[in-house]
């Protein structure tokens, strides 16, 4: 019986064509917005989680607090804020497994007679540090190799740097020489594209070589990467390190000149921002859905008026109030559902477009469209319900029409 009512509803909708489509506009804009936003937001969350999962949630970063003792970004000052003594202190902290120090400095670079000032990062010379830094940054060679023990004037080039991201005149090939502060470095490896601009635009050279060519103090460091021991709570380790560094650097609690970032903190911050953005955008989308619902209600009221006579005929051949009510509810629900289906399609298309645009123009793999089944099913159910609810009052009005009056209506 319900199946028959669906058939009646569909045939009524087809019959109305243009007006049905116009009515759906509000719904499909709203649903498209919701689907697009949720799929992108969800995709971004997944991508971020994925990255942190790969890096591992057992690592944290110690950096100097910028803007306190020094006014520039790390590396802009001649004296580094962190030192190898700090690193040794961290290594002694309970719960710390591995440590690795890095320098990130700007330098004069020259390739193919093109001169640029850009950042150069160091790779620790010790095995432990090298492993940790490689894992934490997910360095992988696309061609050639990564740095190894004994390398001196060798460099590993980030994907974008190699592909005219910095030197515009020529691509950097394996074996090419790049001058860093007027010293020749040989490109021994080119990194895979990571999608993270910071990582794709990096030049990595051995730590000793960096200190030598740029004249950096022997004990200076910009970043210390820490890996917590297995089974240790990362937040506990972070607190231990903080306490130890306060003592080592002789600063009071609350006046630390260093910062410890755990993956959770970064994840939480990003998550909070994403949630805020989602709430605002879904709020806007809900307004559109509300307007769409009112549109459906309006169309259904018109339909009830237009079809008053038909309602009378149906009643005269035995339709009960509930039959008429169901027929009209299904019809308005179908209006919503069709609008919703189109909206889902548009939303999916839009977020896929954003993903493609982000990958090609921004070079980030962080923006990913993600379409879980529950999102699609939820959106469709929701749009059907919006339609049905909007049609509730008109359908009730239709159902309660007196057959005599309805039949007389012209």
């Amino acid at each position: 019986m319900i199946y028959d009512y669906f058939k009646v509803g569909i045939s009524n909708l087809i019959h109305r064509k243009m007006r049905s489509w116009l009515t759906m506009v509000g719904i499909f804009i709203g649903i498209a917005a919701v689907v697009g936003l949720i799929s992108l937001g969800q995709g971004m969350e997944e991508a971020i989680k994925n990255i942190f999962f790969q890096i591992g949630s057992d690592k944290l970063l110690v950096t100097a607090k910028t803007g306190q003792r020094f006014s520039g970004p790390p590396g802009s000052s001649a004296a580094a804020n962190l030192t190898t003594h700090d690193m040794a202190a961290i290594k002694r902290v309970n719960g710390v497994d591995k440590v690795g120090g890095r320098l990130i400095k700007s330098a004069k670079l020259e390739f193919n007679r093109e001169v640029r000032f850009y950042f150069v990062a160091s790779m620790p010379d010790d095995q432990e540090g090298r492993e940790l830094v490689t894992a934490a940054n997910r360095y992988e060679a696309e061609s050639g190799r990564l740095l190894k023990r004994g390398d001196r004037f060798k460099a590993v080039i980030g994907h974008d740097v190699a592909n005219k991201g910095i030197f515009k005149t020529k691509r950097i090939e394996l074996g090419n020489k790049i001058k860093i502060s007027d010293v020749d470095f040989e490109a021994v490896g080119i990194l895979k594209k990571s999608g993270n601009p910071q990582q794709d635009r990096v030049i990595i050279i051995p730590e000793d070589a960096l200190r030598e060519v740029l004249g950096i103090d022997e004990d200076a460091l910009d970043v210390i990467a820490v890996q917590a021991a297995k089974g240790v709570d990362i937040n506990q380790a972070s607190q231990n390190i903080e306490r130890e560094l306060r003592r080592e650097r002789d600063v009071e609690e609350g006046k630390e000149d260093f910062e410890i970032q755990t993956p959770q903190q970064i994840l939480e911050t990003l998550g909070n921002i994403l949630t805020m953005v989602k709430i605002v955008l879904i709020g806007i989308a809900s307004i559109s859905l509300l307007v769409g619902g009112i549109g459906i209600a309006n169309t259904m009221y018109t339909a009830v008026l237009e079809r008053t006579k038909e309602i009378g005929i149906m009643k005269s051949v035995g339709a009960q109030n509930k039959d008429i009510l169901i027929i009209f509810l299904i019809e308005s629900g179908l209006l919503g559902l069709t609008g919703g289906a189109i909206g889902v399609g548009i939303g999916m298309g839009l977020s896929k477009l954003v993903e493609i645009a982000a990958t090609n123009f921004l070079g980030t793999s962080l923006i990913k469209a993600f379409f879980p089944w529950y999102l699609i099913l939820g959106a469709l159910t929701f749009s059907f319900l919006i339609g049905a609810i909007s049609g509730l009052l008109p359908a009730r009005q239709a159902a309660l029409l007196k057959p005599v009056d309805a039949l007389r209506y012209e």
């Binding site: 019986m1 028959d4 009646v8 045939s11 009524n12 019959h15 006579k309 038909e310 009378g312 005929i313 149906m314 009643k315 005269s316 051949v317 035995g318 339709a319 009960q320 109030n321 509930k322 039959d323 007196k402 057959p403 005599v404 039949l407």
Partner: protein, 230 residues
């Protein structure tokens, strides 16, 4: 003595029009027997339409009783009346009253949908009925693609969909020329004779009323004259 199918007992219908009350029916008595062909005649404003609405369970009286198979239906609610209409009464209207968006076949199946008849049975029965009114070739046509006479035949087929006891025809030839009108009347006669249906026909055409076994003349909401054609 034959059984009463529908009996109106002292039926009053009062419409309020602003401050004035209009008595459409004023103590109407009418006893319709099983298998009877009854014509109700009267000038416009005589209360014919109101009487049809009462007989067809489309409306309830202000006062009085309407007995259908010995049950008083004048106090039933809309849904109960709808069920009775669907099962017991087949309507034929002056305006045909087919649903324009549906094909002839779908129009005939419609009353069966509301009785919960299965789809296969609905379609085969509707096809049979459309064959009966000689429209077997036009079952997929919409009402607008059919002539007035054909539309009224679809309406006749529809009135038979749930095999009702009573066929209620309200000016069935009012919108037809005399030739197509007489075809429609022939179908009604056949339903009466061959199938034993109770036919109630409302008309203002004296010639038409002669096909009925009994004619009741209505004026000012009351029966003023009865005529037996038998």
């Amino acid at each position: 003595m034959k059984r009463s199918v529908i009996r109106l007992e002292n039926v009053w219908k009062v419409y309020k029009m602003g401050d004035t009350h209009v008595n459409a029916l004023q103590g109407l008595h009418l006893d319709i027997k099983e298998g009877e062909f009854l014509a109700i005649m009267g000038p416009s404003g005589s209360g014919k339409s109101t009487a049809v609405n009462m007989i067809g369970c489309l409306d309830v009286p202000t006062k009085g009783r309407i007995m259908l198979d010995q049950h008083d239906i004048s106090r039933l609610d809309e849904s109960e009346l709808a069920q009775i209409r669907g099962r017991k009464i087949g309507f034929i209207f002056q305006q045909f009253n087919l649903i324009p968006t549906l094909t002839a076949l779908e129009n005939v199946t419609l009353p069966m949908i509301f009785q919960g008849t299965g789809e296969g049975e609905r379609i085969s029965r509707a096809k049979k009925l459309l064959g009966l009114v000689e429209l077997g070739e036009r079952i997929y046509h919409k009402p607008t693609e059919l002539s007035g006479g054909q539309q009224q035949r679809v309406a006749i087929a529809r009135s038979l969909a749930n095999d009702p006891e009573v066929i209620l025809a309200d000016e069935p030839t009012g919108n037809l020329d005399s030739k197509t009108g007489s075809i429609v009347i022939d179908f009604l006669k056949r339903l009466h004779k061959a199938d034993g249906k109770t036919i109630i026909m409302v008309t203002h055409d004296a010639a038409l009323s002669r096909v009925a076994e009994r004619v009741e003349f209505l004026k000012d909401g009351k029966i003023v004259k009865s005529l037996n054609n038998k």
